[in-house]
Symmetry: C2
Subunit: 238 residues, 2 copies
């Protein structure tokens, strides 16, 4: 075990909540659970240990290991799991993120998407590391309940999913989200968002129906997870 870096074929969940989600949703990829000697064995923790026993996942008490891989953070429980590939399902609703660069943003978007039952996420490379423990922590473990597929470029995504109703979100659109009739919000939808700094290229104006979330001139832009959340709310509400 060593401190996380992108090249490793495994990664970590830090903290009880993401570790629970890992064990419940992706137990087949778990190597082991590590517990710090300072962890109080509450009923929740005992439940987690019992689940591990049932699923034949090793549970180790290894204080030094945890301290080594987490820096000075106050982490008392960690999971170790092998990175895995997953594939999105066509004909389901998608979130499509083009070149997202911030791990905290990615995690927050994962959590929000799962919260709105949109469980297929396409990500266009280059992008932030989806398996970095920071991303996982920001997602509160929601990452383990999603299908997340990485694509080399948008054309690859489009070729495999061209039956989707595409909605690129961009400041150059002249169609405000709040003005869109319910009949336009057709499922399966793909809600497409650009990079935090640069947004989507103008070529996306030619794809599907572009949408803008209006905001005052007092700010430069809404932040990315905020835009995704508002779009998800509007597209999924009954």
């Amino acid at each position: 075990m060593e401190k996380y870096k992108k090249e490793l074929e495994y990664s970590y969940t830090f903290g009880i909540f993401p570790t629970f989600e890992l064990i419940n949703k992706k137990s087949e990829y778990v190597q082991k659970i590590m517990i710090h000697e300072k962890l109080k064995i509450t009923q929740d923790i005992q439940n987690l240990i019992d689940i591990c026993k049932n699923k034949k996942i090793p549970v180790e008490f290894c204080t030094k290991q945890i301290e080594k891989i987490t820096d000075k953070e106050n982490t008392l429980i960690a999971g170790v799991f092998n990175k895995y590939n997953s594939q999105i399902l066509s004909n389901k609703n998608h979130i499509v993120l083009v070149n997202p660069s911030d791990m905290g943003n990615l995690g927050t978007i994962f959590r929000t998407s799962l919260g709105f039952n949109v469980t297929n996420i396409a990500i266009i490379k280059p992008c932030a590391d989806i398996f970095n423990p920071k991303t996982i922590r920001a997602s509160m473990g929601a990452i383990f309940g999603l299908n997340i597929e990485l694509f080399d470029n948008f054309d690859d995504y489009f070729a495999k999913n061209n039956k989707q109703n595409m909605f690129p979100f961009m400041l150059q659109s002249n169609c405000p989200l709040q003005s869109i009739d319910n009949s336009v919000k057709k499922q399966p939808f793909s809600l497409i968002f650009g990079n935090e700094g640069s947004g989507l290229d103008t070529k996306f104006l030619q794809i599907g129906k572009s949408i803008i979330i209006n905001h005052s001139h007092n700010i430069d832009s809404l932040n990315l997870p905020i835009s995704v959340a508002i779009a998800l709310y509007e597209f999924t509400k009954k």
Copy 2:
């Protein structure tokens, strides 16, 4: 100048964007602007220096000072300003945050509120430090365009603002945001949100009209800035 801590009567803006906002919106509180020798003097930076000259704000080239106050962050420009009090305006729309504990969340909420033209923010103590450079950075400087007033408790806020239409957002409510008729969303509104971990106390069910933002059972809760953003979108859309 020393590294930021809460007790100081001044604080810092790190980076060009928050520093610009500080100078444009709250120049009366600025002590000085500090520039690192590695900063490239672009047209934007020259504009900023010119504005400072006009407003008689000192601009110092002091590389060591900046490095001292920012740790190892790659900050090349910083503002120094005196902390100030501001007051919210009654009869305007408010965001009310009860015991928010995370500085990044606070900053994101400030940025989003300004984006939806809701510029009066009430915060009930105890709360995260609104003037910590982390809060300011997360707000992208939006903090300087807002009236933010701190209250010792909710009753104090309520006593001074009892003409507001109050909407506590809480999981115990049985009224989903998406089902609320436009006639209910009366202005001036106060959208009230609890702490990240504990939410609002059940006593808030007795105040105004409580609302829930529905989410799937696959997540514990939406994160706080996401909930605030969705509520702001729904209450301000035409």
